[in-house]
């Protein structure tokens, strides 16, 4: 995101991504995705076909003037604009996210809106920013009235979900996940770092340490990519662990797993759109908790189940001859 006005160096960037299954019977093609994600009449939806189908909405801005949450109870008023945007992967998985960055200090007085509008995606504190406390506050979630990127993401997601192109006939039931992230700079000479936590049932928090000069967009993309793959994994785990599968007998088990094969299994493509400078962070997650390892194990389990279920059919076919 280009910055037109002059802004002090960023000390904190943060956001939230909400991820869900697109409520349609069929995956949307890129053209339809373009309609759904057209949040602004004056800007096009970015579409790409490689390495997978992906559509990204234009950025929308929302003006904010409120307190930032702070874990130490500090009162930090901040003014600026938050970016919200949405993405659709393979016409199937919808993500709405919001993000902004905060410089370490801002003007002591609130400025006219013109000042903030030339700094899209920047929220300036009045005075000095207690970066650590605000980072913790954001991850924990604030009190009502405090700046909540989740609420902005939710508003966007809700709006997208009522688009007339969506027939509301999802092939299976699934839950949303929320991924909250904050990024703080690491000391000179240090590489990037990541700490990924499953905070609640459907809430993940990510703490990033980012070297000075890292592109903000790259950080946002990384978090969207993490959110996407975490949702895929979470959804597949629930499908396999789900009541239906656990208690189902042969043919029922296949029926219960069919949507995974039809709609999810081909979506796993970590780092497809992650900046090379940050891909080390993905490697760290592959090491622990081992995203891809778990995914491939689950996929294998599903394939095995499917194959097992086919045996009786095969036998039937043979004896019928």
């Amino acid at each position: 995101m280009g910055t037109l006005g002059r802004t002090r160096p960023t000390t904190l960037a943060c956001g939230e991504v909400r991820t869900c299954l697109l409520p349609t019977s069929q995956a949307l093609d890129l053209r339809a995705a373009g309609h759904v994600l057209r949040l602004r009449a004056d800007e096009r939806v970015l579409a790409s076909e490689r390495p997978n189908l992906y559509a990204l909405s234009p950025d929308t801005l929302m003006g904010v003037d409120c307190a930032l949450p702070a874990s130490n109870g500090a009162k930090v008023r901040a003014v600026g604009t938050v970016v919200a945007r949405a993405a659709l992967t393979e016409g199937r998985v919808l993500q709405a996210g919001s993000f902004f960055r905060v410089p370490d200090t801002g003007p002591d007085q609130r400025q006219p809106w013109g000042h903030y509008l030339v700094r899209p995606g920047v929220v300036e504190p009045l005075g000095k920013l207690p970066a650590q406390a605000v980072a913790e506050g954001l991850l924990k979630g604030g009190r009502p009235g405090e700046l909540d990127p989740g609420l902005i993401a939710e508003g966007l997601l809700t709006r997208l979900l009522r688009h007339p192109l969506l027939d509301q006939k999802s092939p299976f039931k699934s839950r949303r996940t929320r991924l909250r992230w904050v990024a703080l700079p690491v000391p000179d000479g240090h590489g990037p770092s990541i700490d990924f936590t499953v905070a609640e049932d459907d809430l993940r928090t990510v703490r990033l340490g980012i070297p000075e000069g890292t592109d903000q967009t790259a950080v946002v993309r990384l978090c969207e990519d993490l959110a996407l793959h975490d949702w895929l994994l979470t959804t597949l785990v629930r499908m396999l662990d789900g009541s239906r599968f656990g208690s189902a007998d042969g043919p029922m088990a296949v029926l219960a797993l069919r949507p995974a094969v039809d709609h999810l299994m081909h979506l796993w493509m970590p780092r497809a759109r992650v900046d090379r400078k940050l891909s080390a962070l993905w490697e760290a997650l592959e090491e622990r908790p081992g995203f891809s390892r778990q995914w491939h194990t689950l996929v294998q389990r599903i394939r095995d189940q499917m194959a097992l279920q086919a045996i009786p059919l095969l036998r039937e076919a043979l004896t019928a001859r």
């Binding site: 869900c20 299954l21 409520p23 009502p144 909540d148 989740g150 609420l151 939710e154 809700t158 979900l161 009522r162 007339p164 969506l166 027939d167 509301q168 006939k169 999802s170 039931k173 699934s174 839950r175 949303r176 789900g242 009541s243 239906r244 656990g246 208690s247």
Partner: protein, 304 residues
Amino acid sequence: MLVFAASDKGGTGRSVTSANLAYQRALAGDDVCYVDFDFGSPTAAAVFDVPGELGIDEGGLHTYLEAGTGEPARVDIWAHTLHPVLRNRPNGSGRLVLLPGDASGGEFATDQDTLRRCVDLLLRLNSEFDVIIVDLSAGRSYAMDMVLEATAQPELRSVEARWLVFHRWTRQHVLAASGLVFGEHGILNGAAAGLHDKDTLRQSIRFVRAAVPDPESALWSQVSPAQSVWMQRCDDYLRQLASDRKIGDSVVLGTVPLEPVLQWREQLITEEDVLSTQIANKETLEALEELARKLTDDAHWGQP
């Protein structure tokens, strides 16, 4: 699938029976959500034995619909119930989630924003849950008008919606239930007129007779022959009346017998209540199980 629980009168057994249906569907493996739109008396928490007997202090459904907090509060019943049996979530069961009303919230008028939020909520729940049971206030309430309008919106048209109309087994209740659906200002002629296709809506409505005394049951084995004959005659009369009023057997999804436990206490009927402690009647549990089966079985819906 959306299931709207309605009744013309209060005290019909609507809330308690539909909470039991939610429980039974979850036992059967469905992910179930119970939405407390009984704005006059949000009592679902009591039935599920979760804290907040009279609705929650803030962030419940009223706050969400009226003021639009981000999302209405949710209570995971398996995790938060104080009920000793329910606390051990059975293997193979689905989720069971309550969306409570606010303690201080009463009925309120619906405007376009409220309607919008209602549609968004139902869409959201539909993407997540197999069965969504919405308990509506008694009579032609704002809650009922709101969901009738919501389900007529293009976004919700393709989402399966079923209606259960609860009534007790007395003359007044039979007449009232019939009036609620077929009366001049009832669901079909008043509320939904111009919004829904009348035949389609009619086919999605079934009746549930709650707290029905069975003259044959052991409960009445001590009564005198005269009383027994009289009860039988009343029962026959009510059957005839119900059928005359278009709520006869063909559109009845089920009948829940009069259950002493429920007369004393609003609660879920568990297998333990029947098998171990034997405080509840087997027939009651069986009736609830059957009702829960039929609720999601297409064979019992559509053209009667």
